[in-house]
Point group: C2
DNA sequence: CCGGTGGATGTATGCGCATACATTCACGGC
DNA sequence: GCCGTGAATGTATGCGCATACATCCACCGG
């Protein structure tokens, strides 16, 4: 006994039932002050009786704007696409869970940025349509999305720049979290470099460290490059030698961080400080060091970057640089709306401030 | 030098440029096999040259389906709506961060469910449009959303049931995470009761506990009710007295969990086990107990529910019941598509399995 | 008592696309 | 050499709404 109607009622149905023209129906819904009380009343009754809901497509077509903003992410979770939907009736299983969970931070990132976009869109009466560009259909899907929204917020790495630029010819595009290149697009990002620089200068000045090493993430990722650059600037500003490359390179995962730390311990050459390119890596590093009997921050200082929840719950709590993920989404929408309002305005490159969180893993606070 | 065109090119522009009719343009894009190679070629060239992207609104209108699925959440973050967009140029600030972070799990929940919905939608060539129903515009926005999608996934608590039922007259609605009531809607939820029951039976049977107390969350929330019911069933099945109400009642936050634990410690009557209705609360409880010198699980066993990341990172790691949040979204979409395919099919009430994670806080594993 | 005025409502049209139907044309069979 | 056939393409229409413009009518001033 599902109650879904075979076909949705339209303005015409409402108009018939209310004994008015479709124009009056439309007016009651969009500009009520121009319609007499009587007609308004009858129309609203008809709307209620029929369960009428205006078609977004028709409205969008007539208004020449969809009322939605698109958010596109790179395929963080390509793998997850495999699992079939479980239809098991088993209500509860049980298992010993000794494993160290390694929740992908990317999920969190996606969720937070989406939240920011949705919030800012809401404030302007818009909706947010999200898509994770995966596999083959990747670029085609982005164009499809572009066709159904008023503007796009695209995370760096979602699609090749040339596709973005092409799409941008018809739909404004704001790129999140990558530095302005030569593309004619608006950008929003965080102060990766300055954040890392401030953190490292703190280690040098406040804790008097000198033997400071960088543990990178995936090579050539803009964020990683900027962080390493900030690291170098800090050293240079204090007259210390600047390495050409990170001491170690991971892939932003906790597991990889563990492996790297294991290598250091085995080789017996752990520096005074391990400055990691992200929190996940740092958490893995800390875990392995502690198991190997190396005290953090007693024997070695470890820091992260991102400011994820887990970094504030570890022992020791991780000193890190917090970047405002949801804020990225909000500001991206702000930039998008400005672009919509004035297509000829100069390109924007907004850099959001970060905050260095001094906690236990650098020795600033006691556990 | 922004490159956004003043108005998007249409099929007509493409047809003109390619020297064909709009029908041929449309065919090249939708059914390429019906068009000659020559025409196809010219059309694609024109599309590229003009940066043409089909209008989603027009397509939706003509096709009588939008190609999008709506996801609506209750207003977890009403408060956050206040902050203005920061336009600060300060790239990095610094602060000592002694506070215990209390990341709202609701954000995570929203992100995960959205992820599931988006993934399943993607597999069917659909997009996901999300909206958090806040404040005054709440119900109106839900209808607006309904008008622009082919189906809705609505989380319990987003809007009053009567609004849902009304909307469902024109757009299929699947309700997530609340038990089937009298509404003529499809439902998808997790096995809250059985999960909690299994966990508590484990505490009774395996750890031989008897003085087991329940720490609830917000009253009258379906999930909380079901969990408390499962708690009671476990006790009853072992011939123990079943309390009529939770020993304590929090609000699902970590902070509130702390306050409750403080009360117990001060009163000097801490039970053998504190079974919490969610992880956040349990984390707060554990923190305060430990600071008060009460050992967990040595002196008192504490358990949670939800299986959030933080529960696997605390010391001791929390024994809890993991519920598949992303899976909720995926299955909801699955149910939605079935409903779309057959409006007359019997109503569904899918219950997803949960998994009890036995870790350190119940004593199953050593820290 | 008539033209003017403004509020309420109706009529007609366009938004951009998909597609049913019509048309054209090349080709093969008779 | 004519007609049937089918592939390729064009023409016309509808999808559901917003809105410019036309119409109607009650009411006012002169």
């Amino acid at each position: 006994m599902a109650t879904t109607r075979s076909s949705r009622p339209t303005v015409y149905d409402v108009a018939d039932r209310a004994g008015v023209s479709i124009a009056t129906v439309s007016r009651v819904l969009r500009r009520p002050e121009t319609v007499s009380p009587g007609a308004t009343r009858r129309v609203l009754d008809a709307v209620r009786d029929l369960g009428y809901v205006p078609s977004g497509s028709a409205r969008g077509l007539a208004a020449r704007r969809s009322g939605a903003i698109g958010v596109a992410f790179p395929a963080f979770d390509d793998v997850a696409e495999i699992d079939p939907v479980p239809l098991s009736d088993v209500p509860a299983t049980m298992r010993l869970d000794p494993a160290e969970a390694a929740e992908p931070v990317t999920n969190l990132y996606m969720g937070e940025v989406t939240r920011g976009v949705e919030l800012e869109a809401w404030r302007h009466g818009l909706f947010a349509t999200v898509a994770v560009a995966r596999g083959e259909r990747r670029d085609a899907a982005l164009e499809d999305l572009a066709g159904r929204v008023d503007g796009l917020v695209v995370l760096a790495g979602t699609t090749p720049p040339e596709v973005l630029v092409r799409v941008a010819r018809s739909t404004p595009v704001v790129v999140v979290a990558s530095p302005r290149g030569e593309d004619p697009l608006d950008h929003v990002r965080t102060a990766n470099g300055p954040g890392m620089r401030a953190l490292v200068e703190h280690l040098l000045d406040h804790h008097g460290l000198r033997d400071v090493a960088f543990v990178g993430g995936v090579a050539d990722v803009p964020d990683d490059l900027e962080r390493f650059a900030g690291f170098g600037e800090a050293l240079a500003s204090r007259g210390l030698p600047v390495p050409a490359a990170p001491l170690l390179r991971g892939d932003f995962t906790e597991e990889r961080g563990r492996a790297l730390a294991r290598g250091l311990v085995d080789a017996g050459r752990v520096p005074e400080a391990l400055v990691c390119s992200n929190d996940q890596t740092a958490l893995g590093v800390v875990d392995v060091l502690q198991r190997a009997g190396v005290r953090v921050p007693g024997d070695v200082v470890v820091t992260g970057f991102d400011g994820i929840d887990a970094a504030g719950r570890s022992r020791p709590r991780l000193t890190t640089v917090h970047q405002p993920m949801a804020e990225l989404g909000r500001v991206a929408v702000d930039v998008l709306l400005r672009r919509l309002a004035d297509p000829a305005a100069p390109l924007e490159d907004r850099v959001l401030p970060v905050q260095v969180l001094l906690r236990e893993s650098c020795g600033c606070l006691r556990a």
